[in-house]
């Protein structure tokens, strides 16, 4: 499973997690009850601080949302960009 290879860390932003786990950003922002914003460059730990929740809680919510997306076949194809 991709999520086991690339564990979610508190330094990551929501768009970064969405990219590395091949799910839509909207899915993950929804899981955190936030308005989707590709320009949101806040790391998860900063979001957790502003929401007054532990970062581990947010990471668990994101992992659940990713698992749901994988179960329902809502993942995206990997990006192969030429260097």
């Amino acid at each position: 499973m991709r999520s086991q290879n690339e564990p979610i860390r508190a330094w990551m932003t929501v768009p970064f997690v969405a990219h590395t786990h091949h799910v839509r950003e909207e899915t993950l922002f929804d899981a955190l009850h936030m308005q989707p914003s590709p320009q949101d460059h806040r790391p998860i730990r900063d979001i957790a601080r502003s929401e007054k929740r532990p970062a581990s809680d947010l990471i668990a919510d994101l992992e659940d949302a990713i698992e749901d997306a994988e179960t329902h076949g809502e993942t995206l194809p990997p990006v192969h960009r030429a260097p």
Partner: protein, 205 residues
């Protein structure tokens, strides 16, 4: 520490990239390999431009290297005394000076991107041993550009597996350093045994 560094990069982007690689080049052990791979992933996501990312990373590293070189050269007696303590007496420093002239170019180039943990030491030693600043800077710029391009490219290719690849490359770098150190100590041991054998032979004669 790693999380704070990477969070700063995620939040502030290019200025943080420049500052982090510069501080790491001076000698603070920061996760630069992983940072450059994450930068490559950001490039693949369209959040950064590849050429600017490489230029900023190389420029930051060169700035840090120049500070290290300047500390070695003009850092006063304290740095020289510390280097003497680490590297040996005045004769040993003269030997180092000669070796820097012979092996300096390769040392500067390869420590920028292949054996990166040695980079800050080579900067200090190059400054202290009066290695040519111009030659140091030329090979520093080439080496840092190669290093930045290489790791950013790895990040672009493995854009969804940055931590896994970062861990493998980090281990690989330390393995190369360990092999190099083992080779140096092995060579010195053999050289000492050869000198001792010659001394014993001449004593018997």
């Amino acid at each position: 520490m790693n999380d704070q560094i990477l969070a700063a990069f995620a939040r502030y982007g290019s200025p943080a990239l420049f500052a982090i690689v510069a501080v790491a080049a001076i000698g603070l052990p920061l996760p630069v390999t992983l940072l450059l791979i994450v930068t490559g992933s950001m490039v693949a996501q369209g959040a950064m431009d590849a050429w600017s990312a490489i230029a900023i990373a190389a420029a930051g590293s060169v700035a840090g290297d120049q500070i290290g070189f300047a500390i070695g050269r003009w850092g006063g007696t304290l740095v020289i005394q510390r280097l003497k303590h680490l590297l040996g007496d005045a004769k040993r420093l003269r030997d180092l000076d000669a070796k820097a002239k012979t092996w300096g170019t390769a040392g500067v180039f390869f420590s920028r991107w292949l054996v990166t943990p040695l980079g800050p030491w080579i900067n200090l030693a190059s400054g202290a041993s009066r290695y040519s600043w111009l030659r140091f800077t030329i090979w520093d710029v080439i080496g840092e550009t190669v290093g930045a391009a290489l790791y950013v490219w790895v990040g672009i290719v493995f854009n969804d597996r940055v931590q896994e690849v970062g861990a493998v490359l980090g281990d690989l770098t330390w393995a190369i350093v360990a092999v190099l150190l083992a080779a140096v100590f092995g060579w010195r041991l053999l050289a000492r045994r050869s000198v001792e054998a010659k001394a014993a032979q001449s004593f018997r004669a």
